[in-house]
Amino acid sequence: MTVSPDLDRRFREAAHALGLVDLGFDVVESPMGDLLVAASDRGLASIWYDPDPERDLERLARIAGPRVLRSPRSVDDARRELDEYFAGRRRAFDLPLDLRALPSFTVSVLRELARVPYGETTTYGALAARVGRPRAARAVGTVMNRNRIPIVLPCHRVVGASGDLVGYAGGLERKVRLLELEGAL
């Protein structure tokens, strides 16, 4: 018995409206390719490049619990702000973030990262210094590599001390394109 798209949509909307979903997600199209975007009632929880539902659903469940449901409404705000960003009409994101289940060092690094302005870059070492751990550049690199909310938490703006781009979990090509979009390259 096939569930019609309309019935399916109504169920997903009701689940969202009743606040029964721990994490709602959807696939958002972008110039960087499809993004799997997930949000809770606390805020944006993740943006993943190259969606792979089987892997991603389990990862989402580990963040906030098993009530993970595709729910386009849950990510409406994020979708709108991302569209504006990629269209060059938005320089800063106003989305609340859900950083639960992350170690406190990671959270403090990500909070500092969020303050790196549009169109500018900083270095791993400088970010480490800003959280009071000047010798932790490598650990900061690991936090960037595992950043679960790229683009909005702009790890693409963090480069090596020599100006070398170093790396990007979504692929170096995306890092270059994001920096070009922002006029930083």
């Binding site: 018995m1 096939t2 569930v3 019935l7 399916d8 109504r10 169920f11 009701a14 689940a15 009743l18 029964l20 979903v21 721990d22 539902p53 659903l57 389990e58 989402l60 469940a61 619990g65 098993p66 009530r67 993970v68 449901l69 595709r70």
Partner: protein, 154 residues
């Protein structure tokens, strides 16, 4: 030792069972009323999902919720005559022995006994399936067991 099955993300659970749930509800309620009942079934399941202790027997669990939603729907619409069909059909395998043994128990007691002792579900899961409180689920299971005991003991 029993192997605990972890709870799948709700999206996967929903995708796996939605067709069967809709089929059951259509057979019992007709196409028009089945749609609301479908929503109600998965909303009840979603509400309880975060409290599940393991991922076993989820199919039996959601079909039990669907059956109860169907009964509630029929009651609400006062179409009591349609209830005659709802006895033994379909989809539940596994607990045949218990099913036979519990045949004839009041509906809630039977469902509670089968889910508790046939499927080893916890009382909060049973409560979700029956649309009742955890206490009511516990009482229904023990009332069912007492009734069975009386029936078996000469």
């Amino acid at each position: 030792m029993m192997h605990e099955v972890s709870i799948p993300p709700f999206e996967l659970f929903y995708e796996e069972h939605r067709s069967q749930v809709l089929g059951l509800l259509r057979r019992r309620l007709g196409a028009a009323r089945a749609e609301d009942a479908f929503q109600e079934t998965f909303l009840r399941a979603l509400q309880a999902y975060g409290r599940l202790e393991h991922g076993e027997h989820l199919r039996a669990w959601v079909l039990t919720i669907a059956r109860n939603v169907a009964v509630d729907t029929l009651r609400r619409t006062r179409s009591q005559h349609e209830l005659v069909e709802t006895g033994a059909d379909d989809d539940l395998p596994a607990y045949e022995e218990l099913a036979e043994l519990t045949d004839g128990l009041p509906r809630k007691e039977r469902a509670a006994v089968v889910l508790r002792y046939g499927y080893d579900l916890s009382y909060d899961q049973i409560a979700a399936a029956l649309g009742s409180s955890e206490d009511a689920a516990r009482q229904a299971a023990s009332a069912g067991v007492r009734r069975l005991r009386r029936r078996i003991t000469p």
